[in-house]
């Protein structure tokens, strides 16, 4: 089963929930798809066994074959190619690696070379396999790194996916293929607003969802009302407790120090599993 943890708003506890679920289960892998700011490894301190660079194919021009007809530049929707009468300029950071310029070039003057944009690391933390991606600083496109992280999904394991914040393309790529999406939300106006956007996204992609209320007790009751009116199940509440916040600040998953929570995360997971199997 693939369970993704998303939230819309940043800092609502996605990583805390993902890590604690992973620590409460057996035969599990955790994929950190927040490749711009991965954090799960900070809580799990894995022993890294494999490091893979992530490349994006970008065009390279054989100037001796090029007659500067401009077809590649006309084709490129990303504006990554500029053709002057003497030279072709490639703006690699803008290229999404679609490969279209190679196809449209009538002189076969374009080939592709690999450009590194990030790294995927794989390791173990106790019984949890952790896979996480890291986008190189200054690179704009995280999606290809997320795709590489997701290639590590193993069917015989339970896969937990820690998603990036927001509601746009990196989130879509991360949740794609999930059996269920758990939304970590805080009961505040910001939390509710961004949760609603995520619920819309999940409807559009057809993935069922439920909510974990994090920092329960702060804010107001509007999030609860919204979930009730829209028949979205609240599957767990994590109270706002100084102890939990302090443990998190030190990079310690709170189930390690508050073991009664292991049961709660197991129950949460079993409940989700039942729903998926129905």
């Amino acid at each position: 089963m693939i369970l993704s943890i998303a939230g819309g708003k940043g800092g609502t506890g996605k990583t805390i929930v993902a890590v604690n679920i992973a620590l409460s289960l057996k035969n599990v892998q955790l994929l950190d798809c927040d490749v711009e700011e991965p954090n799960a490894h900070l809580l799990l301190s894995p022993k890294i066994s494999e490091t893979k660079p992530v490349y994006l194919p970008v065009p390279q021009i054989a100037e001796e074959l090029c007659d500067h007809c401009g077809k590649c530049s006309q084709f490129c929707e990303q504006n990554a190619l500029f053709v002057s009468p003497e030279k072709v300029l490639v703006f690699s950071e803008l290229c999404n690696g679609c490969g279209g310029c190679v196809i449209v070039c009538p002189k076969e003057a374009i080939s592709e070379k690999k450009r590194k944009i990030g790294t995927v690391r794989i390791g173990m933390s106790g019984d949890v396999e952790l896979v996480y991606g890291e986008l190189d600083v200054g690179e704009p496109m995280g999606v290809p790194v997320i795709k590489e992280v997701k290639k590590q999904i193993k069917n015989h394991k339970t896969t937990i996916i820690d998603c990036p914040p927001g509601t746009s393309c990196p989130v879509i790529e991360s949740i794609h293929g999930s059996d269920y999406c758990l939304l970590a939300a805080e009961p505040t106006p910001f939390g509710l607003h961004d949760l609603k956007i995520m619920v819309e996204v999940l409807k559009a992609v057809g993935i069922p969802c439920g909510v974990v209320v994090n920092r329960a007790g702060i804010g107001d009751r509007k999030l609860y009302r919204y979930c009730e009116e829209n028949e979205i199940s609240i599957l767990l509440e994590i109270p706002f407790q100084r102890k939990i916040a302090e443990l998190y600040s030190r990079g310690i998953p709170f189930t390690l120090k508050m073991p009664k929570w292991i049961d709660k995360f197991q129950t949460l997971f079993n409940e989700i599993k039942d729903r998926v199997e129905k």
């Binding site: 819309g8 708003k9 940043g10 800092g11 609502t12 990583t15 927040d34 711009e36 700011e37 954090n39 900070l42 809580l43 084709f75 929707e77 990303q78 999404n96 690696g97 679609c98 490969g99 279209g100 196809i103 449209v104 986008l135 600083v137 200054g138 690179e139 704009p140 496109m141 995280g142 990036p164 914040p165 927001g166 509601t167 746009s168 393309c169 990196p170 989130v171 879509i172 794609h176 505040t188 106006p189 910001f190 607003h193 961004d194 956007i197 995520m198 819309e200 996204v201 559009a204 992609v205 702060i218 804010g219 107001d220 916040a245 302090e246 998190y248 600040s249 030190r250 990079g251």
Partner: protein
Amino acid sequence: MKQITILSGKGGTGKTTLTASFAALARNIVVVDCDVDAPDLHLLLHPQIMKTQQFVGPKLAVIDKTKCVECGLCREACRFDAIDDTLEVDSLLCEGCGVCVVVCPEEAISLKKRISGQAYISKTRYGTMSHARLTPGEANSGKLVTLVRHNARRIAEKENRGLILIDGPPGIGCPLIASVTGVDVGFVVTEPTVSGIHDLQRALQLLEHFHIQPFVCVNMYDINTENTEKIIEFCEENSVKVAGKIPFDQIVTEAMVNGKTVVEHSPRSVVSRGIENVWEKLLSFLNEE
């Protein structure tokens, strides 16, 4: 005209809370929300929309089923897995690159324009606001950010405003890069957690990469004072200036529930004084630049 972007790397460190309070304390500004896929600033500033603009995002491939011979070449050529086994285009995965159009032997595929969001120009009690809403799930938030910033500059010129105050998105990818390029100061809001420190470091690397002056503030510093010290030491070692620290207080959430900025809701609180102090420092830092 100067520009400041509030960023953090990690989400939930208090970017929007601080931006809103800064807007309340500032004079002569245009305020901007560049977190276009999960915008929250409007929940505190209650903008009255004056102008709405359609945002044309990446194009979308459309297959004309009357011409399609189901050869599957488009599916093979698509590097974004946006065409499935039944030769349907998944609009959320399609990047609008047009490779399918050029490989189709039947000329059955075309690219069409799609509206991926709206940009707004609004009135708020603290000045004009430029903001937007990306359609949930859409791509190219960076381009929408660029549009929002372009609108902000036009307003600032027209209204003769001296400062553009930008609430940035989390992360360090395309929407954040679009939010910080060309600004005078990148104001980084961090929190004293292991994750906060890690993300601060990446955010600072990003600012350095784009040659933008950083200025750091530790929010909720009393959650872990040891980590706060570590952050301040780290900044000193790397010659990054620190604006100050702001304590954790539930009144921040209370203010949010009431739809107000903290400095309006509890002007005499320690948090508000901390924010005022940081704002003063930020202004003098900006003027030194």
